[in-house]
């Protein structure tokens, strides 16, 4: 008997079969990707990444057509996950967009996110931006988070991870160039930003040093190679995406005291004060993406996205307006804030009465509140650690910049009510959207200039070595 291992998102199935067999037969109706051409092998839409014994062999990119391939022995295939992200955040505030003096031709900015990849072209001569293009990061088929990808690379999947992302970026660049009537070779310059792991995988480096303490990255980028500029990373878990987001915020250009946070799984935070930049990553985990929450989910059709209290009754809206199927990050924060206001959850996070039901199917459970406490506690404690190190209190911060798509759907008042961000900063918060991409566009225009010394002298704190972190974390898990 041979074995076919089928990866889909986090799910892994093993199918035993007698080789040779048609891949489409083995996958069956449930797992088989869509075949718009009717399984004739002409449209290429059912291509999946594969390793092992296939006929015909996987192509250069490591893919086979699910409708055509025959499995001739043991093999593995990676199917696209079914839950796709509905809205991909591509915009961002561009503060200073002016033609580059002496700039020629088109440049490209690429943001390789753990979940999505965005590409945007800029006409360097005239200072015009083409519309952004985006795609899912296909590496998600192997694992949702950064540590999972590092682990996959450690298990020999580095080359396939590299091919996946190279191909996606390549396609997006081709498409973007085509849209403005140039060829890819005509691009004058490309800037590729992303977290440290993403850049490691894109450039084919082995991320092994990022997999264990002391988490010392052996490459922090900040170099140009074949007309591609990779902005610098601050550390193993504070990457070039934070560097470019900081540039987009302008926080190091003005002489202000400011915080920047990225509310993703890594929960990166940066603080600038008196010309010194301090940053860290808080490892909040994916709770705000709906993972590890019983009825949690990503922001797709049917997800509860906003919750409020009206005349003493808790009401909610869903994406698309249909029946509630799950709660996404913004909804979770709103709901928790409402339950605190109504004293259904107390200041320690305890629920007196058991799960709180929004509908028959969708509810918030006690253990969900605990997961949210860990996530919001980690982010807030990271912020407080940086402030403490700089000898500041939250009230002394002039501005809080929120990077990433999540910020645009987040209710800031409620984020403060659950203690995710300091209440003093609600009115001083600037939501940036995809700041990593915006900053990459700024990098296209030229080097950081005045900001440069602050950015190069930044200090990246390892919170596991910060004695005060644990106490701040314990405190930040509670509600006041």
């Amino acid at each position: 008997m041979s074995e076919l291992t089928v990866h889909q998102g986090r799910q892994v199935r093993k199918l035993a079969f007698r080789a040779p067999a048609e891949l489409s037969e083995l996958l069956g109706e449930e797992l088989m990707p869509e075949t718009p051409c009717g399984g004739n092998g002409t449209c290429g839409k059912c291509a999946v990444y594969a390793t092992g014994a296939f006929s015909p062999e996987p192509d250069e990119a490591g893919r086979v057509l699910a409708c055509q391939a025959v499995v001739t022995g043991d093999g593995e295939v990676y199917l696209p996950s079914r839950r796709s992200v509905r809205q991909i955040q591509t915009d961002g505030i561009l503060e200073a967009w002016a033609p580059v003096p002496g700039g020629r031709g088109w440049g490209a900015a690429v943001d390789i996110g753990t979940t999505t990849v965005v590409v945007r072209l800029a006409d360097l001569e005239r200072g015009v931006l083409a519309p952004p293009l985006c795609a899912e990061n296909p590496q998600r088929m192997l694992s949702a988070d950064v540590i999972g990808r590092i682990q996959a690379a450690g298990e020999g999947k580095g080359p396939i991870l590299r091919r996946m992302i190279r191909e996606t970026v390549g396609h997006l660049l081709d498409e973007a160039c085509q849209a403005v009537g140039i060829g890819r070779d005509d691009l004058a310059r490309t800037v590729i930003t992303g977290n440290t792991t993403m850049l490691y995988l894109y450039t084919g480096r082995d991320p092994e040093p990022l997999s264990h303490a002391p988490f010392r990255a052996d490459c922090l980028f900040g170099y140009e190679e074949a007309d591609v500029w990779y902005p610098p990373c601050f550390g193993a878990f504070v990457g070039a995406d934070i560097y470019t987001a900081i540039r987009a915020s302008g926080m190091c250009r003005r002489s202000e005291t400011a915080l920047l946070i990225d509310l993703g799984t890594n929960g990166e935070i940066a603080l600038v004060h008196e010309g010194r930049l301090l940053c860290c990553s808080t490892a909040a985990g994916p709770a705000f993406e709906g993972s590890s929450i019983r009825c949690g989910g990503v922001s797709t059709e049917g997800a509860v996205d906003h919750v409020s209290v009206e005349n003493g009754a808790i009401t909610f809206t869903t994406i698309g307006g249909g029946p509630a199927q799950c709660i996404c990050g913004s909804g979770l924060i709103d709901l928790l804030a409402c339950l605190l206001a109504e004293e259904i959850v107390d200041e320690t996070g305890a629920m007196e009465e058991g799960p709180y039901r929004l509908t028959d199917e969708v509810a918030l459970y006690q253990e969900d509140v605990r997961q949210l406490q860990l996530a919001k506690g980690a982010i807030r404690a990271g912020m407080e650690t940086l402030l403490l190190r700089a000898g500041l209190t939250a009230g002394q911060v002039d501005a809080l910049y929120v990077a990433g798509g999540f910020g645009t759907v987040l209710d800031l008042e409620n984020a403060a009510a659950i203690g995710l961000i300091p209440a003093e900063l609600v009115s001083r918060t600037h939501v940036l959207g995809n700041a990593a991409l915006t900053g990459a566009l700024l990098e296209l225009l030229g080097p950081a200039g005045r900001e440069e010394p602050i950015l190069t002298n930044a200090q990246c704190l390892n919170l596991s070595e910060c004695k005060e972190f644990t106490d701040l974390f314990l405190e930040a898990m509670l509600f006041d």
Partner: protein, 210 residues
């Protein structure tokens, strides 16, 4: 005896200062150190553990309670030694090599101390060999490994291997835990016991060492 209840209550609420005041008072009233330990501190910690396991209270409350308990046991230590009270077994604990997460590990340690077990805490980023050597040197029958990263959890397998090579595998029990660990993993690497939380971990340790 109500002073024992007062101590237990103060400890459960994490009121270390009150615990510090009440214990000398109880000793003065003639309550034995051992009785204070067993009926106030350890009983109180059991209660805290139960409420934590049932999700009624969370990490911050448990840690403040555990700190109050520690404060109490420190006070009692000289009296217990004088009275010749022995700890209920000894165990080593640590976070495995490559991993620096220690909040969960500390909770487990404190809950185990709350069962009267003497704990040798090796800290974080602990080499497999260090677990084994420390168990041998201190004559421990239990080794507890914590791992929070999927990239470092496999080090637990190395600890088990190391114990075999040192020839002590049949003399020690190896308990493991941390967010990514489950029973299946425990079986695969050949460790002895997995539990999902600190309270059940302490119960399991107490019965292993009994």
């Amino acid at each position: 005896m109500s002073i024992l209840q007062d101590i237990s209550q103060a400890m459960q609420k994490g009121k270390a200062k009150q615990v510090k005041q009440l214990i000398p008072q109880a000793l003065e009233e003639g309550v034995s150190a051992n009785q204070i330990l067993e009926e106030a501190l350890l009983a109180g910690m059991s209660e805290v553990g139960k409420r934590f396991r049932d999700n009624e209270i969370f990490v911050p409350e448990v840690l403040v309670a555990a700190r109050a308990m520690n404060m109490g046991t420190e006070l009692l230590k000289p009296y217990l030694q004088q009275a010749g009270v022995e700890p209920k077994g000894k165990a080593v604990i640590g976070t495995v090599k490559g991993d620096l997460h220690d909040i969960g590990k500390n909770l487990v340690r404190m809950m185990m101390e709350g069962k009267g077990i003497e704990m040798i805490d090796l800290g974080v980023d602990v080499e497999p060999q260090t677990f084994i050597q420390s168990a041998i040197d201190n004559d421990c029958k239990l080794i507890c490994c914590s791992a929070l990263l999927t990239t470092t959890m496999n080090v637990i397998g190395d600890v088990v291997e190391c114990a075999k090579q040192a020839g002590i595998r049949d003399k020690v029990k190896i308990m493991i835990g941390g967010a990514p660990i489950n029973q299946q993993f425990c079986d695969t690497v050949g460790a002895d016991v997995y539990t999902p939380d600190a309270a059940t971990a302490a119960e399991a340790a107490a019965s292993l060492l009994a």
